[in-house]
Amino acid sequence: MSQLHYALFTGCTAKQSTPELLSSTLAVAEKLGIKITILEEASCCGASHLQDFDEFLAHVLNARNICYAEKLNLTMITICNTCQLNSAMTKHALDKDPVLKAKVNEKLAEVGLEYKGTSQIKHFLYAIIDEYGLENVKDKVTVPLSHLNIAPFYGCHNIRPSELHEDANGHENPYNPNSLDRLITALEGHPVNYESKNKCCGFHVELQANHTSEVLAGNALLDAMDNNADMMVTPCPLCHLKMDTYQDSISKTMGRDVELPVLHMPQMVALALGCSEQEIGLKFHVQKAKHLYTA
């Protein structure tokens, strides 16, 4: 296999509240021999909120990000479901609507850029599964996760709308997704089967509809706990933030103690590949998770 090389769109959280997501992503890529070029020029994707305010502006800014992956002639990989969705939405809109594409390019020309539509956009999870291959991941496992029941939490924006994601997520079915389950199995962990695995965590209404947000996150966490999960894993740092950071208030809302480590997908892989504690960064979690180093 020739060496895989990707342009990494880090998104905002990996540069701010979840430094462990970036460090574990880079550590996993290194262990797997995947070359990563960080798109240091890339800005925020708008996270669907800027889109609510000004859709055209959001397309212009996302198209600019994609331009930098195109310049390198590389597939752009994301490590956040919402970055994935919003970047892919812009790509989809521009690729199918030449009038919009021309309008966006008129703006981009002012800063010397042009969106062409030549780079694919893929979440790191699917780059690992569909391009690196789970058989190859298996060969690299040095610390099997056979002692752990792991609840996969897929996060909405990687699996819905399925029409948008097409082959970028290996045609994952949103009603019966299995990529994370297969990844957990490849690392010799035990995937937990529970109803909430493809449901919403409530992150996006954290500020304006707090109760809804807390109940959705609580439902998922309790469902995982009731099915004997030792930890949860998610490819989305926004799901992570909602479900790791707010467990105290979620416990109050739900009237039950919620206590479950929520790991980023690359952190889980990093554990199984024997990366260092520094790289995995469990110390950055609000809910205690450091016991997973030695569990």
Partner: protein, 336 residues
Amino acid sequence: MSASINQNSTTRKVTIKAFRFNAETDYLPYIKQYEMEVGKDELILDLMNKIKWEHDGSFSYRRSCRHGICGACAIKVNGKSVLACKQNAIELLDLFDNDITLEPSSKKRVIKDMIIDKSDFWEKHAAIKPYVVADVDPRPSHESKQSIEEFNNFMDSDLCIQCGACHYACPALEVNPDFLGPAALNAAYRFTVDTRDTAGDERLAITAQMGSGVWDCVKCFECAEACPKEINPIEKIGKLHNLQFVRGVAQSNVATRHAEGFLRGMMKTGYLDEADIVTYSEGYLGTLKHMGTAFKMMKSGKIHWHSGIPFINSIPKIKNLDEVQKLIQISQTNKL
């Protein structure tokens, strides 16, 4: 998971599970199993007919047109919203490993088996004035003219058959019974952008209400996935968000500031400013309720000192920040 392929034909012998409950006589719902042969062209509606006609005549469900236009037969199969008369059965048996359970669209609204009380759906639909509001001459000399572009603005949203698939797939609505839901919001969009209509601002005010309107959508895209007519209701919710700013009727509140406030951080560093978006959206008083969380994030290092002083200069700047600043200046079309 019992299934066997009949080698001599294209049918598959399976056990279908169905949710059973009679609100008048049953204390609790239960699941019953039915064995049957399923052919490659059979629909979920055919399976329900077999249960009723060959196994148990008391099995109840709504059906009428049988070609995807009346919206009566919307149910769920293993949590997936389907229109029973459009959904191929073998496709679902393949997706769910031959283990499928027929369920009503909403278990808590069941009257009998697959039949639910949809009154909340119709109340919300009615609340957004789902009709063209216009002063029309009773004896007009010609029909209302509309260009193809104007018509195309709402063409797909007009295809809604009111089956309720998106409404009962919406998790926000399950938690917050006041939320209007994707079907009503789609209808609100459909009439608001109709050039003959004059009640757009009124509808935008209804759909902008905090607690019941567009800002309570959780952005899960369940509705886009559930719609059997491929309407993509969340896309229309997005357009309603935008219309508030385009028509200049947006009120300044936590949700609208949250949407617009993304630009504050992006102008300074290219990234969203995670702390500023909370204080700007909530206001200083509203921020107080987040202090406990902020303290915990500080303690664990989620708010960190690696690259500067938190809240002051800890966010790195992207390369070529001037490009983003310029693009915002020349491309921004809406204001709060």
